[in-house]
Point group: C2
Chain length 203, copies 2
């Protein structure tokens, strides 16, 4: 599978949606899917589907549709969820605790190693931010840090994470964080989704 | 402001991102912004910005850039956040509690009226799902219901909400829900964001 360089953000953002559709089809025991059917599931055009797929090589034969399970596996490889990841969470408020106890992570290969907080919550088995060190990150092979502190503390936490050698950050704080270019960051701005809903309500 | 019909999902999903960029510029006291600068902030092309804006009428004069504060207000109107909304949350696990205590909602005009749960949590001031009725929805002018129960219960909760007359659902459960066509639903699939991160990590 030869993946083209410079794949657009729009295509990358559609990958999880393709994967979700394929998982659904697979769970319904559907074996074949056409680009037209996938397009309908994603609310895009069939030519967009074919164009998206062309970034990742050949997935099927024109006119015969795609093999659902095979394509699902291809997408797992492309998205990188054919592997496991070790994660930590910084911020043991309700959101941090919700993510920490979310069973869906474990079943998808995302292991949460530890939950940290700025405040002393040692009685709840939550680690102090002071014990978050370069050593800890290395010894526990931490792949991803999740930031669930409030917006005011998020940048200083991001700085600390970068200093400790964390290369991938999933940010839930409602601000854009400055990180070096070699650090991947993905923001989970929940209000974006709420605003799409209010838009729909008003039009 | 004459808004065109049939605005694509892709454009709608960019609206909150334009709004976030404009809020940031405004907070930095920047008065003017060009389509090129906005395009860079959103990681799209300037012609895409102009094309997006053309759906909503005229925002500025070619070559002069846009007035940041004026454009921010226009986007508030377009997104519909120039109004207030009453919300309820169904599912008082950690995620439901996190949303219930999120102060950002109140400051943006989103009032959480009540938190419900399937289990009896009356000692925590959480309402029983049995008290969720058509009457409750009407008397409290509920605009939006947030579903934070687990995937297994989400469809039956959605059915109950629809029966009670709820017209707008913000769904955090990791499944697509079936609702009538006149009910707006917006899904907050958090793993989509995580998968974009794992994609970036692997490419």
């Amino acid at each position: 599978m030869a993946i083209k360089k410079d794949i657009s953000q729009a295509v990358i953002k559609r990958l999880p949606r393709y994967y979700r559709s394929l998982k659904l089809l697979s769970s319904e025991n559907i074996k074949k899917v056409s680009s037209k059917e996938l397009a309908e599931m994603l609310d895009i055009t069939a030519s967009q589907v074919r164009q998206d797929f062309s970034n990742f090589g050949e997935f099927g034969q024109q006119g015969y549709g795609y093999d659902v399970d095979k394509l699902k596996l291809e997408f797992e490889k492309i998205i990188g969820i054919d592997k496991t990841y070790n994660m930590i969470i910084i911020g043991a408020g309700n959101l941090g605790k919700a993510l920490n106890s979310y069973s869906g992570f474990v079943s998808s290969g995302f292991n949460i190693i530890s939950l940290f907080d700025i405040e002393d919550k040692s009685n709840e088995n939550i680690l102090s931010i002071d014990s978050l060190t370069k050593n800890f990150i290395e010894e526990n092979s931490i792949d991803i840090a999740i930031i669930t502190v409030n917006s005011d503390s998020a940048q200083s936490i991001a700085d600390k994470l970068v200093k400790c050698g964390v290369k991938n950050i999933w940010n839930f704080a409602a601000i854009d964080l400055d990180v070096p270019k070699d650090v991947n960051i993905e923001n989970m701005f929940m209000s974006d989704s709420l605003f799409v809903l209010t838009y729909k309500m008003n039009h």
